[in-house]
């Protein structure tokens, strides 16, 4: 199936419910999404999303792209009041201007899980889903305030993996704790393990993750409107196989590495902290995260090296100028298809992702086996306008400015700053 056709179908599907607003209780129901309702707690719904964007780059990089950033189709449903499930898969991602054939191109599986939810204090989820680390990484693409997640959310936060997780609410606090097969899609090893004759492959994984969130400020006096803020901390622990398998620093568009992988062996730990506050039509989000990777026996002389460290943080603020409340599902007071302007939101985010070694003794090198690694970082500011035209569609305009610490390690060596931008159409149901 041609990619533009996929987009057209998804647009049509998203447009229909706005006109139909079918509210049937049994059989075929089309409200947020096409759903077959078999009973009170038994149903199957079709989910889909298409992200179409036109990117323009700094002239130094010299690339423009009109692309289907993501297209996914899925099913989700309830089996009983105790169980729900979801499956979702990528389809037809690529350059919309490329010649393609008529086959449907399936990409990777996204969420594939079943959840037991009898008790609020302890829900159990099994399958493939996101590891509980990172506020933004665990926010669905349709709820993001910017077209792309912050660099740290894409790099340090692990993303999806296969595993089992228990989660729940205990008073003002929520928790998630899981064990996973590997260490997430964002940390996938780049290098096939090199083994000599007679050697066995090293066992990789499992990884462990835990996150605790809560309305901490409610317990404190004199916090006023800040009482609604949610804060959290997270931690992961996994093993990394020997090789060029560390995390790496990709530029905002992923065209170049501003920090290439280094040799690692041992334990990878992540630490995270998050802040989420949405008073009225505004929001303020912030995250800090750090990964530390061991480099046992990785020096030029097979000795241990100091830890490899990645640090990231961001602060993001939004304001719905049309006055809607900022929550997870912003509904325009006057949707476009009902003759209104939709909801309009202004957004700004400042972020940084940097890499370094724990050791700072002597002369720094870019050598992936150096004890003192020459640091580099990418600081990015993103200005955005979000036009939320309906419950299912939104247009995102982002202007992005990147500034690299080391001008020799950028998409265009010798130039440390770049402007770029995009216009994105999100269709999600």
């Amino acid at each position: 199936m041609k990619r533009p056709l996929i987009v057209a179908i998804l647009i049509a599907i998203a447009a229909v419910p706005a006109a139909a607003q079918n509210k049937g209780k049994r059989g075929f129901v089309w409200d947020d999404r096409p759903t077959i309702v078999f009973g009170e707690d038994v149903n199957i719904a079709v989910t889909g999303r298409a992200l179409v964007e036109w990117r323009w780059f700094d002239p130094d990089i010299g690339e423009e792209l009109f692309a289907l950033r993501a297209a996914r189709l899925g099913l989700k449903g309830d089996l009983t009041r105790h169980l729900d499930w979801e499956i979702e898969r990528e389809i037809g991602v690529g350059d919309l201007e490329e010649e393609d054939d008529s086959r449907i191109e399936f990409g990777e599986w996204k969420d594939v899980f079943v959840r037991w939810r009898t008790f609020d204090a302890a829900r159990v989820k099994a399958g493939r889903f996101k590891i509980p680390f990172g506020l933004e990484q665990n926010t669905g693409v349709s709820e993001l305030d910017f077209a792309y997640r912050a660099l740290g959310s894409r790099t340090i936060a692990p993303g999806r993996d296969t595993g089992v997780m228990v989660s729940g609410e205990l008073g003002r606090f929520g928790y998630e704790a899981g064990v996973f097969d590997d260490d997430g899609d964002n940390a996938v090893s780049s290098e096939i393990q090199f083994v000599q004759e007679g050697q066995d492959l090293e066992n990789v994984g499992p990884s462990f993750a835990v996150r605790v969130t809560g309305d901490l400020f409610r317990a404190l006096p004199f916090t006023g409107r800040l009482r609604s803020a949610n804060v959290g901390i997270a931690y992961t622990n996994s093993d990394v196989p020997e090789g060029l398998n560390s995390l790496r620093g990709e530029s905002f568009w992923g065209t170049e590495d501003f920090f290439e992988r280094v040799y690692v062996k041992g334990r990878r730990q992540r630490y995270g902290a998050q802040f989420d506050w949405s008073p009225g039509p505004t929001s303020l989000r912030a995250e800090w995260m750090q990964s530390r990777e061991e480099r046992n026996e990785q020096s030029n002389r097979n000795e241990d090296l100091s830890d490899f460290i990645a640090n990231a943080w961001y602060v993001a603020g939004t304001w719905l100028v049309t006055g809607e409340d900022k929550d997870d599902d912003v509904n325009a007071r006057r949707p476009l298809l009902k003759g209104g302007p939709g909801a309009i939101e202004l957004a700004v985010r400042y972020e940084r992702l940097g890499f370094e070694s724990a050791s700072t003794q002597g002369t720094p090198f870019t050598n992936p086996r150096a004890d003192y690694l020459l640091p580099n970082s990418d600081s990015v500011v993103t200005f955005g306008v979000n036009w939320i035209t309906s419950r299912w569609t939104r247009v995102i305009v982002n202007a992005i400015h990147e500034d690299f610490e080391d001008a020799t390690r950028t998409p265009v060596p010798g130039t440390s700053s770049f402007w770029s931008g995009l216009v994105r159409l999100n269709i999600v149901f």
């Binding site: 090199f194 030029n300 090198f365 086996r369 150096a370």
Partner: protein, 412 residues
């Protein structure tokens, strides 16, 4: 007491003044052809295994290098070579500035470890480069070294100066305070299955880009880098022999070029500018603020093929050499350089070969990773030692035959 202090101070000053020039090491010491060096490379055992397993790739691995008590940390090494690549005895390139652009050692940014796998004598390259230097032909400094990897003896290697900006500065010197090394340096790239003998390949630059790898000023416009080469080749091909000097003298240092090809023929290298499969094994340098190119010698493992190697071997197959040597003045220069080479080699070349053999002999015999036996080494050594005398006689006789001069005694 005051006398004692004064005396002590003077003694210290004298010692400092004396010791500095004695113990300061230079790149000349590193490439000292009179010394069999010892170079230690320290790298992660996994990387050494990977490098040998993927010896056809140019992947860099980090390492430390020790020479003469000094260690340079965090250098980059990779497998190198064309036909000489080996999984058991890899040829290596060592870049001091791979992971820190400012790092140098003895003023060098890099050097090459020639694995000597294509030369059973182990000295053809080093003897030829010393001979070229005697003749004033730009050539890298070279000697031999025992190479130790992580403390283990890993074979006898040639220690070769990289042809780079540093070497260009050494060879072409300075004009005032400006070191003459900001020109355009190219390594000739032998394209497998596409032998080239200076025929015109059209006005588009890609064919020239494929054959001439740019090593300096890489970010400049393609027309600036390869345009002058296309122009040189076009002029050579479009101009008749009679007008060739006028057409290309501003693009190629013709006397230096003739000197180079003549000397290369004298040493009977069959894989050089007029090689058996087209041009091969040289660098070309367009001097700073100049349009004129000069050739730099490189890779002479295939020298000393046979004493009766014809003195005009494949000259007529190459458009440039054919047209140029059809001119009387350059043909005369070509033969004169041959005779000069014969004179220079007389009494020196065999002695130099013998000296080098004496220097490397133990290291060669202990080298268990070389792809030939000690008996083969011994046999080729004797053959090579017989080359100079026979070649000198042959060249003098053949030049006399070509020029109509009186043939010296001993000619057949």
């Amino acid at each position: 007491m005051r006398h004692l202090i004064r005396g002590g101070v003077l003694l210290v000053l004298f010692a400092l003044g004396l010791s500095s020039p004695i113990f300061a090491q230079t790149s000349d010491d590193f490439f000292n052809p009179e010394v069999l060096q010892r170079v230690d490379i320290w790298l992660n055992e996994t990387d050494w295994s990977k490098l040998k397993a993927a010896f056809q790739e140019n992947t860099y691995y980090p390492a430390d290098v020790t020479w003469n008590g000094t260690t340079v940390y965090n250098v980059g090494i990779r497998s190198r070579g064309l036909g000489s690549r080996s999984s058991t005895k890899p040829g290596l390139r060592v870049d001091f500035d791979r992971y820190n652009s400012g790092q140098q050692f003895l003023g060098l940014k890099s050097f090459v470890l020639d694995n000597l796998t294509q030369d059973k004598t182990g000295i053809k390259e080093t003897a030829t480069m010393r001979f070229y230097t005697r003749l004033g032909i730009p050539a890298p400094r070279e000697t031999h070294t025992r190479l130790y990897i992580n403390g283990r003896y890993s074979g006898l290697y040639g220690l070769v100066e990289s042809v780079d900006k540093t070497m260009m500065g050494r060879v072409f010197g300075s004009i005032g305070d400006d070191v003459q090394n900001d020109g355009y340096l190219f390594e000739y790239n032998y394209v497998l299955g596409s032998p080239w003998r200076f025929t015109y390949e059209g006005s588009a630059l890609p064919p020239y880009k494929a054959r001439f790898d740019i090593k300096t000023n890489e970010s400049h416009a393609e027309s600036t880098i390869w345009g002058p080469i296309e122009e040189l080749v076009r002029r050579v091909n479009e101009t008749s022999s009679g007008g060739i000097e006028q057409a290309i003298a501003d693009r190629l240092d013709l006397p230096a070029f003739v000197r180079y090809i003549s000397a290369q023929n004298f040493v009977a290298d069959f894989d050089g500018f007029t090689g058996y499969d087209g041009m091969n094994n040289f660098y070309m340098y367009r001097k700073e603020e100049s349009s004129q190119h000069v050739l730099i010698a490189w890779d002479e493992d295939n020298a000393f093929l046979q004493a009766d190697y014809p003195i005009l071997m494949r000259i007529d197959e190459n458009v440039l050499t054919n047209k140029l040597l059809s001119l009387g003045s350059y043909r005369t220069q070509y033969f004169n350089v041959m005779l000069e080479s014969a004179d220079s080699a007389t009494g020196w070349l065999r002695q130099e070969m013998q000296r080098q053999f004496d220097m490397i002999n133990a290291a060669m015999l202990e080298d268990t990773v070389k792809p030939y036996t000690n008996a083969e080494y011994a046999a080729d050594r004797e053959t090579l030692l017989a080359f100079p005398e026979a070649r000198i006689t042959y060249v003098r006789c053949e030049v006399a035959k070509q020029t109509g001069a009186t043939r010296p005694s001993g000619c057949q």
